[in-house]
Homo-oligomer: 148 residues x 4
Protein backbone atom coordinates (compact mmCIF):
# COMPACT_ATOMS: atom_id res chain seq x y z
CA UNK A 1 0.00 0.00 0.00
CA UNK A 2 1.08 3.56 -0.66
CA UNK A 3 1.69 5.86 2.27
CA UNK A 4 -1.43 7.78 3.23
CA UNK A 5 -1.01 11.38 4.41
CA UNK A 6 -3.92 13.38 5.78
CA UNK A 7 -4.12 17.06 4.94
CA UNK A 8 -6.26 18.95 7.45
CA UNK A 9 -7.20 22.57 7.98
CA UNK A 10 -9.64 25.17 6.69
CA UNK A 11 -9.83 28.71 5.40
CA UNK A 12 -9.98 29.99 1.81
CA UNK A 13 -6.74 31.89 2.41
CA UNK A 14 -4.92 28.58 2.84
CA UNK A 15 -5.99 26.94 -0.40
CA UNK A 16 -2.87 27.73 -2.44
CA UNK A 17 -0.60 26.22 0.19
CA UNK A 18 -2.88 23.19 0.60
CA UNK A 19 -2.86 22.60 -3.14
CA UNK A 20 0.92 22.65 -3.15
CA UNK A 21 1.02 20.18 -0.26
CA UNK A 22 -1.32 17.90 -2.20
CA UNK A 23 0.80 18.16 -5.32
CA UNK A 24 4.05 17.40 -3.49
CA UNK A 25 2.52 14.41 -1.72
CA UNK A 26 1.31 12.97 -5.02
CA UNK A 27 4.73 13.49 -6.57
CA UNK A 28 6.16 11.50 -3.69
CA UNK A 29 3.63 8.70 -4.35
CA UNK A 30 1.55 9.34 -1.24
CA UNK A 31 -2.22 9.01 -1.24
CA UNK A 32 -3.84 12.21 0.04
CA UNK A 33 -6.54 11.79 2.71
CA UNK A 34 -8.85 14.66 3.65
CA UNK A 35 -12.33 15.48 4.88
CA UNK A 36 -13.63 15.41 1.33
CA UNK A 37 -15.35 18.78 1.20
CA UNK A 38 -14.30 22.38 0.43
CA UNK A 39 -11.48 24.89 0.91
CA UNK A 40 -8.31 23.21 2.21
CA UNK A 41 -9.86 19.79 1.63
CA UNK A 42 -10.65 20.34 -2.03
CA UNK A 43 -7.44 22.26 -2.63
CA UNK A 44 -5.27 19.46 -1.28
CA UNK A 45 -7.20 16.89 -3.31
CA UNK A 46 -6.99 19.03 -6.46
CA UNK A 47 -3.25 19.40 -6.06
CA UNK A 48 -2.87 15.66 -5.74
CA UNK A 49 -5.08 14.83 -8.71
CA UNK A 50 -3.42 17.36 -11.01
CA UNK A 51 -0.13 15.66 -10.22
CA UNK A 52 -1.57 12.24 -11.02
CA UNK A 53 -2.12 11.17 -7.43
CA UNK A 54 -4.86 9.35 -5.56
CA UNK A 55 -7.28 10.88 -3.04
CA UNK A 56 -9.55 9.67 -0.26
CA UNK A 57 -12.31 11.87 1.18
CA UNK A 58 -13.82 11.00 4.56
CA UNK A 59 -17.24 12.62 4.52
CA UNK A 60 -19.41 13.75 7.41
CA UNK A 61 -22.83 13.06 5.90
CA UNK A 62 -24.80 10.19 4.42
CA UNK A 63 -24.05 10.58 0.70
CA UNK A 64 -20.95 10.54 -1.45
CA UNK A 65 -22.56 13.33 -3.45
CA UNK A 66 -21.09 15.76 -0.91
CA UNK A 67 -17.54 14.89 -1.97
CA UNK A 68 -15.61 17.50 -3.93
CA UNK A 69 -14.79 16.69 -7.56
CA UNK A 70 -11.18 15.69 -6.79
CA UNK A 71 -12.02 12.74 -4.55
CA UNK A 72 -11.32 9.26 -5.93
CA UNK A 73 -12.57 7.23 -2.97
CA UNK A 74 -15.41 8.62 -0.89
CA UNK A 75 -15.88 7.26 2.62
CA UNK A 76 -19.40 7.97 3.84
CA UNK A 77 -19.57 8.09 7.63
CA UNK A 78 -22.77 9.83 8.87
CA UNK A 79 -20.59 10.89 11.83
CA UNK A 80 -20.77 14.67 11.42
CA UNK A 81 -17.77 16.40 12.96
CA UNK A 82 -16.85 13.16 14.71
CA UNK A 83 -15.46 11.99 11.38
CA UNK A 84 -12.45 14.21 12.12
CA UNK A 85 -11.08 11.36 14.25
CA UNK A 86 -11.08 9.08 11.21
CA UNK A 87 -9.39 11.65 8.99
CA UNK A 88 -6.56 11.81 11.53
CA UNK A 89 -6.31 8.06 12.16
CA UNK A 90 -6.31 7.17 8.47
CA UNK A 91 -3.15 9.15 7.76
CA UNK A 92 0.22 7.55 8.34
CA UNK A 93 1.11 11.18 9.04
CA UNK A 94 -0.79 14.46 9.13
CA UNK A 95 -0.11 17.95 7.75
CA UNK A 96 -2.14 20.88 9.11
CA UNK A 97 -2.69 23.88 6.83
CA UNK A 98 -4.43 26.65 8.73
CA UNK A 99 -7.60 25.64 10.51
CA UNK A 100 -9.54 26.16 13.67
CA UNK A 101 -11.19 23.96 16.31
CA UNK A 102 -11.88 21.12 13.89
CA UNK A 103 -8.23 21.04 12.97
CA UNK A 104 -7.40 21.05 16.66
CA UNK A 105 -9.42 17.87 17.16
CA UNK A 106 -7.61 16.24 14.26
CA UNK A 107 -4.18 17.18 15.61
CA UNK A 108 -5.17 15.77 18.99
CA UNK A 109 -6.37 12.49 17.50
CA UNK A 110 -3.27 12.19 15.31
CA UNK A 111 -1.10 12.40 18.41
CA UNK A 112 -3.30 10.00 20.39
CA UNK A 113 -2.84 7.46 17.60
CA UNK A 114 0.88 8.13 17.33
CA UNK A 115 0.82 9.70 13.88
CA UNK A 116 3.53 12.26 13.09
CA UNK A 117 1.98 15.72 12.70
CA UNK A 118 3.42 18.95 11.33
CA UNK A 119 1.80 22.38 11.28
CA UNK A 120 2.54 24.49 8.20
CA UNK A 121 3.28 28.15 9.03
CA UNK A 122 1.28 30.21 9.64
CA UNK A 123 -1.00 27.90 11.59
CA UNK A 124 -2.43 26.86 14.95
CA UNK A 125 -0.21 26.91 18.01
CA UNK A 126 -0.16 23.49 19.63
CA UNK A 127 2.46 22.74 22.23
CA UNK A 128 4.79 19.93 21.26
CA UNK A 129 3.80 19.82 17.59
CA UNK A 130 6.60 20.65 15.10
CA UNK A 131 6.18 23.34 12.46
CA UNK A 132 7.29 23.73 8.86
CA UNK A 133 7.99 26.94 6.99
CA UNK A 134 7.00 25.71 3.53
CA UNK A 135 4.89 22.96 1.93
CA UNK A 136 8.08 21.21 0.82
CA UNK A 137 9.45 21.24 4.34
CA UNK A 138 6.17 19.86 5.70
CA UNK A 139 6.14 17.02 3.18
CA UNK A 140 9.80 16.23 3.81
CA UNK A 141 9.11 16.13 7.54
CA UNK A 142 6.23 13.68 7.38
CA UNK A 143 7.92 11.40 4.86
CA UNK A 144 11.03 11.27 7.01
CA UNK A 145 8.87 10.53 10.07
CA UNK A 146 6.96 7.71 8.39
CA UNK A 147 10.14 6.13 7.09
CA UNK A 148 11.55 5.76 10.60
CA UNK B 1 -15.45 8.13 -9.41
CA UNK B 2 -15.92 4.42 -9.88
CA UNK B 3 -18.94 2.73 -8.32
CA UNK B 4 -18.19 1.45 -4.85
CA UNK B 5 -19.81 -1.83 -3.77
CA UNK B 6 -19.55 -3.14 -0.22
CA UNK B 7 -19.18 -6.87 0.28
CA UNK B 8 -20.24 -7.91 3.78
CA UNK B 9 -20.56 -11.19 5.62
CA UNK B 10 -18.45 -13.71 7.48
CA UNK B 11 -17.67 -17.39 7.74
CA UNK B 12 -14.81 -19.38 6.22
CA UNK B 13 -17.34 -21.47 4.31
CA UNK B 14 -18.32 -18.39 2.31
CA UNK B 15 -14.89 -17.37 1.13
CA UNK B 16 -15.06 -18.93 -2.34
CA UNK B 17 -18.31 -17.17 -3.12
CA UNK B 18 -17.01 -13.88 -1.70
CA UNK B 19 -13.89 -14.13 -3.84
CA UNK B 20 -16.01 -14.63 -6.93
CA UNK B 21 -18.15 -11.62 -6.01
CA UNK B 22 -14.98 -9.55 -5.63
CA UNK B 23 -13.65 -10.73 -8.97
CA UNK B 24 -16.89 -9.97 -10.82
CA UNK B 25 -17.13 -6.52 -9.26
CA UNK B 26 -13.58 -5.69 -10.35
CA UNK B 27 -14.29 -6.93 -13.85
CA UNK B 28 -17.21 -4.51 -13.92
CA UNK B 29 -14.92 -1.67 -12.80
CA UNK B 30 -16.38 -1.37 -9.32
CA UNK B 31 -14.22 -0.61 -6.30
CA UNK B 32 -14.74 -3.26 -3.59
CA UNK B 33 -15.37 -1.96 -0.07
CA UNK B 34 -15.18 -4.27 2.94
CA UNK B 35 -14.32 -4.39 6.63
CA UNK B 36 -10.67 -4.95 5.79
CA UNK B 37 -9.99 -8.05 7.86
CA UNK B 38 -10.37 -11.82 7.39
CA UNK B 39 -12.64 -14.47 5.88
CA UNK B 40 -15.28 -12.94 3.60
CA UNK B 41 -13.55 -9.56 3.83
CA UNK B 42 -10.16 -10.79 2.64
CA UNK B 43 -11.70 -13.15 0.11
CA UNK B 44 -13.70 -10.40 -1.57
CA UNK B 45 -10.64 -8.14 -1.63
CA UNK B 46 -8.44 -10.92 -2.99
CA UNK B 47 -10.90 -11.63 -5.77
CA UNK B 48 -10.95 -7.97 -6.73
CA UNK B 49 -7.18 -7.54 -6.67
CA UNK B 50 -6.50 -10.68 -8.70
CA UNK B 51 -8.83 -9.25 -11.34
CA UNK B 52 -6.94 -5.95 -11.33
CA UNK B 53 -9.46 -4.07 -9.21
CA UNK B 54 -9.26 -1.57 -6.37
CA UNK B 55 -10.14 -2.23 -2.72
CA UNK B 56 -11.01 -0.21 0.36
CA UNK B 57 -10.88 -1.71 3.87
CA UNK B 58 -12.70 0.05 6.70
CA UNK B 59 -10.92 -1.14 9.83
CA UNK B 60 -12.20 -1.33 13.41
CA UNK B 61 -8.96 -0.61 15.25
CA UNK B 62 -6.32 2.09 15.46
CA UNK B 63 -3.74 0.82 12.96
CA UNK B 64 -3.72 0.03 9.25
CA UNK B 65 -1.52 -2.92 10.11
CA UNK B 66 -4.67 -4.91 10.80
CA UNK B 67 -5.70 -4.71 7.13
CA UNK B 68 -5.50 -7.87 5.09
CA UNK B 69 -2.90 -7.99 2.31
CA UNK B 70 -5.43 -7.26 -0.46
CA UNK B 71 -6.46 -3.83 0.77
CA UNK B 72 -5.32 -0.82 -1.28
CA UNK B 73 -6.80 1.92 0.86
CA UNK B 74 -7.07 1.36 4.61
CA UNK B 75 -9.52 3.50 6.55
CA UNK B 76 -8.62 3.48 10.24
CA UNK B 77 -11.65 4.21 12.42
CA UNK B 78 -11.06 3.17 16.07
CA UNK B 79 -14.84 2.52 16.10
CA UNK B 80 -14.85 -1.20 16.87
CA UNK B 81 -17.98 -2.90 15.57
CA UNK B 82 -19.56 0.51 15.06
CA UNK B 83 -17.50 0.78 11.89
CA UNK B 84 -20.04 -1.57 10.30
CA UNK B 85 -22.21 1.49 9.70
CA UNK B 86 -19.48 3.05 7.58
CA UNK B 87 -18.91 -0.13 5.57
CA UNK B 88 -22.58 -0.05 4.63
CA UNK B 89 -22.81 3.69 3.97
CA UNK B 90 -19.69 3.74 1.81
CA UNK B 91 -21.10 1.32 -0.72
CA UNK B 92 -23.29 2.59 -3.53
CA UNK B 93 -24.76 -0.87 -3.09
CA UNK B 94 -24.17 -3.82 -0.78
CA UNK B 95 -23.82 -7.59 -1.31
CA UNK B 96 -24.13 -9.90 1.71
CA UNK B 97 -22.30 -13.24 1.60
CA UNK B 98 -23.17 -15.31 4.63
CA UNK B 99 -22.77 -13.57 7.93
CA UNK B 100 -24.31 -13.18 11.33
CA UNK B 101 -25.30 -10.28 13.61
CA UNK B 102 -22.60 -7.97 12.29
CA UNK B 103 -23.90 -8.50 8.79
CA UNK B 104 -27.40 -7.80 10.07
CA UNK B 105 -26.29 -4.38 11.30
CA UNK B 106 -24.75 -3.64 7.92
CA UNK B 107 -27.88 -4.67 6.03
CA UNK B 108 -29.93 -2.45 8.35
CA UNK B 109 -27.66 0.56 7.82
CA UNK B 110 -27.57 0.02 4.06
CA UNK B 111 -31.34 0.22 3.97
CA UNK B 112 -31.46 3.24 6.29
CA UNK B 113 -29.13 5.04 3.88
CA UNK B 114 -31.08 3.90 0.84
CA UNK B 115 -28.41 1.65 -0.60
CA UNK B 116 -29.59 -1.33 -2.68
CA UNK B 117 -28.79 -4.59 -0.88
CA UNK B 118 -28.85 -8.17 -2.08
CA UNK B 119 -28.30 -11.33 -0.04
CA UNK B 120 -26.45 -14.12 -1.82
CA UNK B 121 -27.94 -17.57 -1.20
CA UNK B 122 -27.56 -19.21 1.22
CA UNK B 123 -27.62 -16.28 3.64
CA UNK B 124 -29.46 -14.39 6.35
CA UNK B 125 -33.22 -14.02 6.19
CA UNK B 126 -34.18 -10.36 6.27
CA UNK B 127 -37.70 -9.37 5.33
CA UNK B 128 -37.87 -7.13 2.30
CA UNK B 129 -34.29 -7.72 1.12
CA UNK B 130 -33.93 -9.38 -2.31
CA UNK B 131 -31.85 -12.52 -2.80
CA UNK B 132 -29.55 -13.78 -5.51
CA UNK B 133 -28.80 -17.40 -6.38
CA UNK B 134 -25.27 -16.83 -7.68
CA UNK B 135 -22.44 -14.27 -7.40
CA UNK B 136 -23.12 -13.17 -11.00
CA UNK B 137 -26.78 -12.62 -10.24
CA UNK B 138 -25.88 -10.60 -7.11
CA UNK B 139 -23.48 -8.40 -9.05
CA UNK B 140 -25.96 -7.91 -11.88
CA UNK B 141 -28.61 -6.92 -9.36
CA UNK B 142 -26.58 -4.25 -7.61
CA UNK B 143 -25.21 -2.77 -10.83
CA UNK B 144 -28.69 -2.55 -12.27
CA UNK B 145 -29.90 -0.93 -9.04
CA UNK B 146 -27.13 1.68 -8.99
CA UNK B 147 -27.67 2.53 -12.63
CA UNK B 148 -31.28 3.49 -11.96
CA UNK C 1 -25.82 1.30 39.45
CA UNK C 2 -29.33 0.40 38.43
CA UNK C 3 -29.88 -1.99 35.56
CA UNK C 4 -30.16 -0.17 32.27
CA UNK C 5 -32.62 -1.55 29.69
CA UNK C 6 -32.81 -0.15 26.17
CA UNK C 7 -36.20 0.10 24.53
CA UNK C 8 -35.92 0.26 20.75
CA UNK C 9 -38.36 0.36 17.88
CA UNK C 10 -40.54 2.79 15.99
CA UNK C 11 -44.07 3.33 14.72
CA UNK C 12 -46.93 5.34 16.23
CA UNK C 13 -49.00 2.15 16.45
CA UNK C 14 -46.51 0.77 18.98
CA UNK C 15 -46.56 3.64 21.44
CA UNK C 16 -49.04 2.16 23.91
CA UNK C 17 -47.03 -1.02 24.25
CA UNK C 18 -43.75 0.91 24.50
CA UNK C 19 -45.22 3.08 27.26
CA UNK C 20 -46.22 -0.02 29.19
CA UNK C 21 -42.74 -1.49 28.77
CA UNK C 22 -41.27 1.76 30.11
CA UNK C 23 -43.62 1.76 33.08
CA UNK C 24 -42.89 -1.85 33.99
CA UNK C 25 -39.13 -1.30 33.75
CA UNK C 26 -39.34 1.72 36.06
CA UNK C 27 -41.44 -0.26 38.53
CA UNK C 28 -38.68 -2.86 38.55
CA UNK C 29 -36.08 -0.11 39.23
CA UNK C 30 -34.49 -0.24 35.80
CA UNK C 31 -33.26 2.88 34.03
CA UNK C 32 -34.82 3.15 30.58
CA UNK C 33 -32.43 3.89 27.70
CA UNK C 34 -33.70 4.95 24.29
CA UNK C 35 -32.87 7.02 21.24
CA UNK C 36 -34.32 10.11 22.91
CA UNK C 37 -36.70 11.23 20.18
CA UNK C 38 -40.30 10.44 19.18
CA UNK C 39 -42.83 7.61 18.92
CA UNK C 40 -41.59 4.45 20.67
CA UNK C 41 -38.68 6.38 22.17
CA UNK C 42 -40.82 9.06 23.80
CA UNK C 43 -43.52 6.57 24.77
CA UNK C 44 -41.07 4.33 26.61
CA UNK C 45 -39.53 7.31 28.38
CA UNK C 46 -42.97 8.70 29.30
CA UNK C 47 -44.01 5.36 30.77
CA UNK C 48 -40.87 5.27 32.86
CA UNK C 49 -41.15 8.85 34.10
CA UNK C 50 -44.83 8.52 35.02
CA UNK C 51 -43.86 5.55 37.16
CA UNK C 52 -41.11 7.54 38.86
CA UNK C 53 -38.25 6.06 36.87
CA UNK C 54 -35.10 7.43 35.28
CA UNK C 55 -34.44 7.83 31.55
CA UNK C 56 -31.45 8.25 29.26
CA UNK C 57 -31.82 9.48 25.66
CA UNK C 58 -28.99 8.89 23.20
CA UNK C 59 -29.48 11.54 20.56
CA UNK C 60 -28.33 11.58 16.92
CA UNK C 61 -27.70 15.31 16.53
CA UNK C 62 -25.61 18.05 18.08
CA UNK C 63 -28.04 19.50 20.64
CA UNK C 64 -29.90 18.17 23.66
CA UNK C 65 -32.81 20.33 22.54
CA UNK C 66 -33.86 17.45 20.28
CA UNK C 67 -34.59 15.22 23.29
CA UNK C 68 -38.22 14.48 24.07
CA UNK C 69 -39.65 15.92 27.29
CA UNK C 70 -39.35 12.65 29.22
CA UNK C 71 -35.57 12.37 29.02
CA UNK C 72 -33.58 12.93 32.23
CA UNK C 73 -30.09 12.50 30.83
CA UNK C 74 -29.43 13.51 27.23
CA UNK C 75 -26.38 12.06 25.50
CA UNK C 76 -25.46 14.18 22.50
CA UNK C 77 -23.57 12.16 19.91
CA UNK C 78 -23.53 13.90 16.46
CA UNK C 79 -23.43 10.34 15.09
CA UNK C 80 -26.68 10.34 13.11
CA UNK C 81 -28.07 6.83 12.69
CA UNK C 82 -24.76 5.41 13.87
CA UNK C 83 -25.85 6.28 17.40
CA UNK C 84 -28.04 3.16 17.23
CA UNK C 85 -24.97 1.15 18.17
CA UNK C 86 -24.66 3.09 21.41
CA UNK C 87 -28.33 2.68 22.25
CA UNK C 88 -27.87 -1.08 22.00
CA UNK C 89 -24.54 -1.25 23.82
CA UNK C 90 -25.72 0.93 26.71
CA UNK C 91 -28.50 -1.46 27.69
CA UNK C 92 -27.76 -4.40 29.94
CA UNK C 93 -30.58 -5.87 27.89
CA UNK C 94 -32.76 -4.72 25.01
CA UNK C 95 -36.50 -4.85 24.28
CA UNK C 96 -37.68 -4.25 20.70
CA UNK C 97 -41.19 -2.84 20.20
CA UNK C 98 -42.04 -2.74 16.51
CA UNK C 99 -39.49 -1.08 14.31
CA UNK C 100 -37.80 -1.31 10.97
CA UNK C 101 -34.20 -1.21 9.68
CA UNK C 102 -32.96 1.01 12.47
CA UNK C 103 -34.28 -1.47 14.98
CA UNK C 104 -32.59 -4.24 13.03
CA UNK C 105 -29.22 -2.53 13.47
CA UNK C 106 -29.84 -2.21 17.20
CA UNK C 107 -30.79 -5.87 17.56
CA UNK C 108 -27.63 -6.82 15.66
CA UNK C 109 -25.41 -4.67 17.85
CA UNK C 110 -27.07 -5.92 21.03
CA UNK C 111 -26.20 -9.49 20.03
CA UNK C 112 -22.66 -8.55 18.97
CA UNK C 113 -22.12 -7.09 22.44
CA UNK C 114 -23.75 -10.05 24.16
CA UNK C 115 -26.80 -8.21 25.46
CA UNK C 116 -29.99 -10.27 25.92
CA UNK C 117 -32.65 -9.14 23.44
CA UNK C 118 -36.35 -9.88 23.24
CA UNK C 119 -38.79 -8.88 20.50
CA UNK C 120 -42.30 -7.96 21.68
CA UNK C 121 -45.05 -9.39 19.47
CA UNK C 122 -45.90 -8.31 16.86
CA UNK C 123 -42.42 -7.33 15.73
CA UNK C 124 -39.51 -7.95 13.43
CA UNK C 125 -38.51 -11.49 12.54
CA UNK C 126 -34.88 -12.09 13.46
CA UNK C 127 -33.60 -15.63 13.56
CA UNK C 128 -32.38 -16.69 16.99
CA UNK C 129 -33.94 -13.79 18.91
CA UNK C 130 -36.61 -14.80 21.49
CA UNK C 131 -40.06 -13.24 21.46
CA UNK C 132 -42.52 -12.14 24.14
CA UNK C 133 -46.29 -11.99 23.86
CA UNK C 134 -46.80 -9.11 26.29
CA UNK C 135 -44.85 -6.18 27.79
CA UNK C 136 -44.78 -7.97 31.15
CA UNK C 137 -43.35 -11.10 29.57
CA UNK C 138 -40.69 -9.04 27.76
CA UNK C 139 -39.66 -7.29 30.97
CA UNK C 140 -39.61 -10.56 32.91
CA UNK C 141 -37.43 -12.08 30.21
CA UNK C 142 -34.78 -9.38 30.19
CA UNK C 143 -34.62 -9.13 33.98
CA UNK C 144 -34.20 -12.86 34.29
CA UNK C 145 -31.49 -12.76 31.61
CA UNK C 146 -29.56 -9.94 33.30
CA UNK C 147 -29.74 -11.65 36.68
CA UNK C 148 -27.99 -14.75 35.33
CA UNK D 1 -33.41 18.40 32.99
CA UNK D 2 -30.47 19.45 35.13
CA UNK D 3 -27.55 21.21 33.52
CA UNK D 4 -24.89 18.77 32.39
CA UNK D 5 -21.25 19.83 32.73
CA UNK D 6 -18.42 17.73 31.32
CA UNK D 7 -15.19 17.52 33.28
CA UNK D 8 -12.28 16.52 31.07
CA UNK D 9 -8.55 16.08 31.57
CA UNK D 10 -6.08 13.56 32.90
CA UNK D 11 -3.11 13.18 35.21
CA UNK D 12 -2.99 11.90 38.79
CA UNK D 13 -1.63 15.27 39.91
CA UNK D 14 -4.95 16.87 38.92
CA UNK D 15 -7.26 14.63 40.90
CA UNK D 16 -7.71 16.89 43.91
CA UNK D 17 -8.74 19.81 41.75
CA UNK D 18 -11.01 17.61 39.63
CA UNK D 19 -12.70 16.28 42.76
CA UNK D 20 -13.37 19.81 43.94
CA UNK D 21 -14.82 20.73 40.55
CA UNK D 22 -17.11 17.70 40.76
CA UNK D 23 -18.21 18.64 44.27
CA UNK D 24 -18.95 22.24 43.37
CA UNK D 25 -20.93 21.21 40.29
CA UNK D 26 -23.06 18.82 42.34
CA UNK D 27 -23.68 21.52 44.94
CA UNK D 28 -24.93 23.73 42.11
CA UNK D 29 -27.26 20.91 40.97
CA UNK D 30 -25.34 20.10 37.80
CA UNK D 31 -24.96 16.55 36.54
CA UNK D 32 -21.27 15.71 36.04
CA UNK D 33 -20.36 14.10 32.70
CA UNK D 34 -16.97 12.48 32.17
CA UNK D 35 -15.18 9.70 30.31
CA UNK D 36 -16.09 7.25 33.05
CA UNK D 37 -12.65 5.85 33.81
CA UNK D 38 -9.70 6.83 36.07
CA UNK D 39 -7.74 9.80 37.37
CA UNK D 40 -9.50 13.10 36.59
CA UNK D 41 -12.58 11.20 35.42
CA UNK D 42 -13.04 9.22 38.63
CA UNK D 43 -12.02 12.16 40.81
CA UNK D 44 -14.65 14.45 39.30
CA UNK D 45 -17.30 11.76 39.63
CA UNK D 46 -16.29 11.02 43.22
CA UNK D 47 -16.51 14.68 44.14
CA UNK D 48 -19.98 14.87 42.66
CA UNK D 49 -21.26 11.71 44.34
CA UNK D 50 -19.91 12.63 47.76
CA UNK D 51 -21.86 15.87 47.46
CA UNK D 52 -25.03 13.98 46.56
CA UNK D 53 -24.83 14.65 42.82
CA UNK D 54 -25.47 12.62 39.70
CA UNK D 55 -22.83 11.34 37.27
CA UNK D 56 -22.68 10.10 33.69
CA UNK D 57 -19.67 8.17 32.33
CA UNK D 58 -19.19 7.89 28.57
CA UNK D 59 -17.06 4.79 28.15
CA UNK D 60 -14.72 3.85 25.29
CA UNK D 61 -15.19 0.07 25.38
CA UNK D 62 -17.95 -2.49 25.08
CA UNK D 63 -18.86 -3.07 28.73
CA UNK D 64 -20.13 -0.90 31.59
CA UNK D 65 -17.82 -2.90 33.84
CA UNK D 66 -15.04 -0.47 32.88
CA UNK D 67 -16.83 2.42 34.59
CA UNK D 68 -15.35 3.73 37.82
CA UNK D 69 -17.36 3.18 41.00
CA UNK D 70 -18.72 6.75 41.07
CA UNK D 71 -20.65 6.52 37.80
CA UNK D 72 -24.45 6.44 38.03
CA UNK D 73 -25.21 6.17 34.33
CA UNK D 74 -22.77 4.33 32.08
CA UNK D 75 -22.90 5.02 28.37
CA UNK D 76 -21.21 2.19 26.47
CA UNK D 77 -19.93 3.37 23.10
CA UNK D 78 -17.32 0.95 21.61
CA UNK D 79 -15.82 4.08 20.03
CA UNK D 80 -12.38 4.05 21.65
CA UNK D 81 -10.86 7.52 21.80
CA UNK D 82 -13.52 8.74 19.40
CA UNK D 83 -15.90 8.82 22.35
CA UNK D 84 -14.15 12.04 23.39
CA UNK D 85 -16.42 13.84 20.93
CA UNK D 86 -19.48 12.63 22.83
CA UNK D 87 -18.05 13.62 26.20
CA UNK D 88 -17.67 17.15 24.86
CA UNK D 89 -21.01 17.33 23.07
CA UNK D 90 -22.97 15.98 26.05
CA UNK D 91 -21.92 18.82 28.33
CA UNK D 92 -23.86 22.08 28.27
CA UNK D 93 -20.43 23.39 29.18
CA UNK D 94 -16.98 21.89 29.68
CA UNK D 95 -14.26 22.30 32.33
CA UNK D 96 -10.72 21.09 31.52
CA UNK D 97 -8.51 20.01 34.42
CA UNK D 98 -5.02 19.23 33.18
CA UNK D 99 -4.86 16.85 30.28
CA UNK D 100 -3.05 16.14 27.08
CA UNK D 101 -3.99 15.36 23.48
CA UNK D 102 -7.25 13.66 24.42
CA UNK D 103 -8.27 16.77 26.30
CA UNK D 104 -7.31 18.83 23.27
CA UNK D 105 -9.75 16.87 21.12
CA UNK D 106 -12.50 17.44 23.68
CA UNK D 107 -11.84 21.19 23.86
CA UNK D 108 -11.94 21.33 20.05
CA UNK D 109 -15.25 19.46 19.87
CA UNK D 110 -16.76 21.56 22.64
CA UNK D 111 -16.03 24.69 20.62
CA UNK D 112 -17.26 23.14 17.38
CA UNK D 113 -20.57 22.42 19.10
CA UNK D 114 -20.71 25.86 20.70
CA UNK D 115 -20.29 24.72 24.29
CA UNK D 116 -18.63 27.16 26.70
CA UNK D 117 -15.24 25.82 27.80
CA UNK D 118 -12.90 26.93 30.57
CA UNK D 119 -9.41 25.64 31.31
CA UNK D 120 -8.50 25.43 35.00
CA UNK D 121 -4.97 26.66 35.76
CA UNK D 122 -2.47 25.14 35.34
CA UNK D 123 -3.61 23.54 32.10
CA UNK D 124 -3.31 23.30 28.34
CA UNK D 125 -2.74 26.44 26.29
CA UNK D 126 -5.46 26.79 23.68
CA UNK D 127 -5.87 30.09 21.90
CA UNK D 128 -9.22 31.73 22.50
CA UNK D 129 -10.26 29.51 25.42
CA UNK D 130 -10.74 31.34 28.77
CA UNK D 131 -8.95 30.22 31.92
CA UNK D 132 -9.91 30.02 35.59
CA UNK D 133 -7.58 30.26 38.57
CA UNK D 134 -9.62 28.05 40.91
CA UNK D 135 -12.27 25.32 40.73
CA UNK D 136 -14.84 27.78 42.09
CA UNK D 137 -14.01 30.29 39.39
CA UNK D 138 -14.26 27.59 36.71
CA UNK D 139 -17.67 26.48 37.95
CA UNK D 140 -18.91 30.07 38.22
CA UNK D 141 -17.75 30.70 34.67
CA UNK D 142 -19.55 27.78 33.09
CA UNK D 143 -22.75 28.32 35.02
CA UNK D 144 -22.80 31.98 34.02
CA UNK D 145 -22.16 30.95 30.41
CA UNK D 146 -24.94 28.39 30.33
CA UNK D 147 -27.41 30.81 31.90
CA UNK D 148 -26.96 33.31 29.08
Amino acid sequence: MAFQVSVIGSGAENEARAEEVGRLLAERACTVVCGGRGEVMSAAARGAKRAGGTTIGILPGTSRAEANEWIDHAIVTDLGHVRNAIVAATGDAVIAVGGSYGTLTEIGFARIYGRPVVILEPGLQVEGVPRAATPAEAVDYVLASIAK
